[in-house]
């Protein structure tokens, strides 16, 4: 009994930092609609800044002053990010800003590395709260009890600020209808900045306040990122009490999970989230999201046309040039192989994300899934490579059919989070079932058949299958199926009223995209000869999202151009020590300079100087 109570108290104490960070994220998302990936970085900065301050400010007052001060400092950093990076791109399509915040993550990572060095620091214990208290015979740190006591006050304070003050009313009004709020003469830009300050400051305080329990290291930004998204989604986007309940739920379950079911730790919160979303599609205390209700629909998409005569010749020339790559040596061949595989993966995501408006945050599950299907068939069943290669997309497609069945019912950010949860489930399954999948060590020694071995031979297979897959995706986009998918995105009301089963169309598209991601995965595993769980990671899914937006989400070739650009840039930049900083700044620069993505901006420019005819007004 005593043990259980102690566990419960530890869980509640852990919930404090989690709630602080998650409430900041929820606030920022609620008002600005920005999915702020950099929120974990603000948390990490809070921890490091708090640590440095605590070295200087001694004693009880110094400790708590450091906590508050790190909040203020991180808040100011948040404001700088908002003004410099996000303000120029508020008019860009929804989710575009998340690419910019991804750039911010990379920049902050390297800046923190420069400032504090590659060491994990141990947080100082809080002066005056260093002891333990015995509760039912079990030792409970005093600091835990302090955290448990503080959190409800923070919750109450935020609740009071949002519901009882004038500023709070403006913020809530802005979460519901931005256009109306600005029509009433409220300066939206500064409202957003203010919310960003508060949200980042909460993350900073969260980072500093957990120092005595944890510490600070350079991985904590990514480590907490998915957890806070899960908390915010379980609680319901924009709901503070929901975030608190979810933070407590997740923390307590985690503590008990560690003691009773250690192998469940990686996946527990995702299971909880999946269950909550299936029962309550908008989180515990959230409300329905309606696309465009926040006045951020952006410019309407343009009609698409299959490539004309000149376009086909251009693609032909590009393929011919690619076919000549093996003459440049094996380095160029391997790099081009990687690029083509990555482009196929990104293009398959673009199909559902761009044409279908289905923001999948877990697309790597089908890429890695396909790769593992092939690898396991070769390793465990001795399947010939050719057959395993064909079964890879089928396996991925089956996974997508099952996962899609659960996810398609949700929309917007909730859909994104559930797809991510399932991807994480699959990842932890592979990671922890090491007898079968090799776990962290991966599966190695999976090589192509003899007639395909060798860099050059395999390159031509990749060229035929990869480019073929991309061209096929493009063709399907122009087929009735692709049109039905766009119809469901543009107006599900009209589509349903004219006989289109929109959910089924979306489900089929989800499975189709999964199959092609699996095809890319199959190509990948035989090109590397090995596969590791990292290929299913969230970071891999985010990679694909980022290149789509970099290339241009509203164009069909965006994924290919963005994918090639990022792969080449990364290959070149990783030679430098602070490559993340450079890459992050590059991403931010592209995002600000060409908010339509690389292809979209090039096309607009070509139209302006008269090189291309504008598609909007038709041919006549």
């Amino acid at each position: 009994m005593g043990f259980i109570v102690a566990q419960l108290l530890t869980g509640l104490a852990n919930a404090a930092a989690l709630f602080l960070v998650a409430s900041g994220l929820s606030l920022i998302f609620g008002v600005t609609r920005i999915v702020n990936f950099a929120h974990g970085s603000f948390y990490m900065l809070g921890a490091f800044v708090g640590y440095s301050l605590m070295q200087v400010l001694p004693g009880f007052i110094g400790f708590w002053a450091s906590v508050v001060l790190s909040g203020v400092i991180v808040g100011v950093i948040g404001v700088i990010v908002e003004i410099c990076v996000l303000r120029p791109i508020y008019k860009a399509p929804e989710l575009f800003q998340l690419v910019a915040t991804f750039g911010v993550i990379l920049v902050i990572q390297d800046l923190a590395l420069m400032t504090w060095g590659p060491v994990d620091v141990l947080g100082p214990r809080a002066p005056g709260l260093k002891g333990i208290v015995r509760i039912l015979g079990e030792p409970v740190p005093q600091y835990d009890l302090a955290l448990i006591a503080i959190t409800p006050f923070v919750l109450f304070g935020l609740w009071f600020l949002l519901t009882k003050t004038r500023v709070g009313i403006l913020v809530r009004a802005a979460t519901q209808d931005r256009e109306m709020v600005s029509a009433l003469g409220v300066n939206q830009a500064w409202l957003f900045t203010g919310v960003f300050f508060l949200g980042s400051a909460l993350a900073g305080v969260g980072g500093a306040i957990q120092l005595p329990k944890g510490g600070a290291d350079l991985l904590m930004d990514f480590n907490i990122l998915t957890t806070i998204f899960v908390v915010v989604v379980i609680g319901g986007m924009g709901s503070l009490p929901g975030a608190y309940i979810a933070a407590v739920l997740i923390s307590v379950l985690n503590v008990f999970g560690v003691s009773y079911l250690p192998q469940s730790t990686l996946v527990l919160m995702f299971v909880v989230m999946a269950v909550v979303l299936m029962v309550k599609p908008y989180g515990l205390l959230g409300r329905e999201e309606v696309a465009g209700e926040h006045g951020q629909v952006g410019e309407p998409e343009r009609p698409i046309k299959p490539a004309g005569y000149r376009g086909r010749i251009f693609v032909g020339i590009v393929i011919a040039l690619l076919a000549a790559v093996p003459f440049l040596g094996s380095f160029a061949t391997v790099l081009t192989t990687d690029i083509i595989i990555f482009c196929l993966f990104a293009a398959s995501l673009q199909f559902i994300l761009g044409l279908g408006g289905l923001n999948s945050f877990g697309h790597a599950a089908y890429f890695g899934g396909g790769a593992y299907v092939a690898a396991l068939l070769v390793r465990s069943a001795g399947t010939p490579m050719e057959l395993a290669f064909i079964l890879a997309p089928l396996g991925a497609c089956m996974a997508a059919v099952i996962i899609g069945w659960f996810c398609i019912r949700l929309t917007g950010i909730y859909f994104a989070m559930l797809t991510m949860a399932f991807a994480q489930l699959l990842w932890s399954l592979i990671y922890q079932w090491d007898k079968f999948t090799g776990g962290d060590d991966g599966l190695v020694d999976i090589w192509p058949a003899a007639w395909l071995s060798g860099t050059t031979a395999y390159f031509y297979l990749t060229l035929v299958v990869g480019v073929g897959g991309i061209v096929f995706l493009r063709h399907v986009a122009h087929s009735p199926f692709g049109y039905a998918l766009r119809a469901a995105r543009d107006s599900s009301r009209q589509a349903e009223a004219t006989g289109i089963n929109t959910k089924r169309v979306q489900w089929a598209a989800f499975a189709f995209a999964g199959a092609l991601a699996g095809l890319a995965g199959g190509l990948f595993v035989f090109s590397k000869g090995s596969i590791f769980p990292t290929e299913l990671e969230i970071a891999k899914s985010f990679d694909a999202i980022i290149v789509i937006f970099l290339g241009g989400v509203k164009t069909l070739s965006g994924a290919v151009v963005g994918g090639a650009t990022l792969e080449v840039a990364r290959d070149f930049l990783t030679r430098f020590e602070y490559w993340r900083l450079i890459l992050g700044l590059m991403i931010i620069a592209v995002v600000i300079l060409s908010p339509d993505g690389i292809v979209g901006s090039l096309r607009k420019y070509a139209e302006r100087i008269g090189l291309l005819r504008e598609m909007v007004d038709g041919e006549q």
Binding site: P303, D490, E496, A497, G618
Partner: protein, 259 residues
């Protein structure tokens, strides 16, 4: 005359609010039937139940003696009911003609086909429909840049794609200029006459209603208070009170409370 649509004891409540109460009526073949009434009378709720967007609390809807209750919109559409929306709903990322082609693709059940190019399918049929509503000159324009009146005409073309026997039009001329209204309703009456389609429509412009409808029903607070020929409705004292002649939605005692 044969009855195309029969509505029997249709009711819908949202919590304590009775939006539509025990509504029964029928639409005859080739008839242009207007459903009028003040704001909040339950017209759109009624339409949403007929088209399957809302589930009735009780009552049934029959199309050619086939019960439509409980079917989703897309199945009702397949039975031969077309609809235009009060607030237009079109595919913004497609051209005008592609919007019509999309409905034709759905009508021919080819939504899951991946081999042909969609923009080449049923193009001639789509152009014919656009010609019918006078939109052929704009067929290649992006739908997103159309004027509102043109969107309404496009919706009409889409609604005619599967040769419906019944057309439901929710405020077909809302937001249009007076001349456009007359043109659109003239067009609709011509189509009704030529194709033997029945039309049920709601409308706030009484010039349009009195000039074009064959019969008028008046809804107030969810209940049918009058149903008859154009002349009889124009002279109906109750209708004048609640809707036409300076009447008001509230009863006298309620009005005093609000005053």
């Amino acid at each position: 005359m044969t009855e195309v649509l029969k509505v029997k004891n249709l009711s819908k409540s949202f919590g304590g609010i009775h939006a539509v109460v025990n509504l029964s009526f029928s639409v005859a073949e080739g008839e242009l039937l207007a459903l009028i009434g003040p704001n909040g009378a339950g017209k759109t709720t009624c339409f949403n139940m007929l088209m399957g967007q809302l589930k009735p609390t009780s009552g049934n809807v029959f199309l050619h003696d086939e019960n439509l209750s409980g079917l989703p919109p897309r199945k009702i559409w397949r039975k031969g009911v077309g609809r235009t929306f009060q607030i237009t709903a079109t595919y913004q990322s497609m051209t005008v003609v592609e919007n019509v082609q999309m409905a034709l693709i759905s009508h021919h059940r080819r939504c899951f086909s991946i081999l042909p190019f969609a923009h080449q399918l049923y193009r001639d049929e789509a152009m014919e429909l656009l010609q019918l509503v006078g939109m052929e000159a704009q067929s290649e324009r992006a739908c997103a840049i159309l004027a509102y009146g043109d969107l309404k005409r496009l919706e009409l073309a889409i609604a005619l794609c599967h040769e419906p026997t019944l057309l439901l039009m929710d405020e077909p001329t809302a937001g249009m200029a007076p001349r456009e209204r007359i043109e659109l309703m003239q067009l609709t009456s011509d189509i009704v006459r030529d194709r033997r389609i029945s039309v049920l429509f709601t409308e706030h412009d009484m010039d349009v209603v009195f000039a074009h409808s064959h019969r008028i029903m008046v809804l107030n607070r969810g209940e049918l208070i009058a149903n008859g020929s154009v002349e009889s409705i124009r002279n109906d004292a109750k209708v004048q009170e609640v809707y036409l002649g300076g009447g008001t939605l509230f009863k006298n005692d309620e009005e005093q409370t609000y005053a």
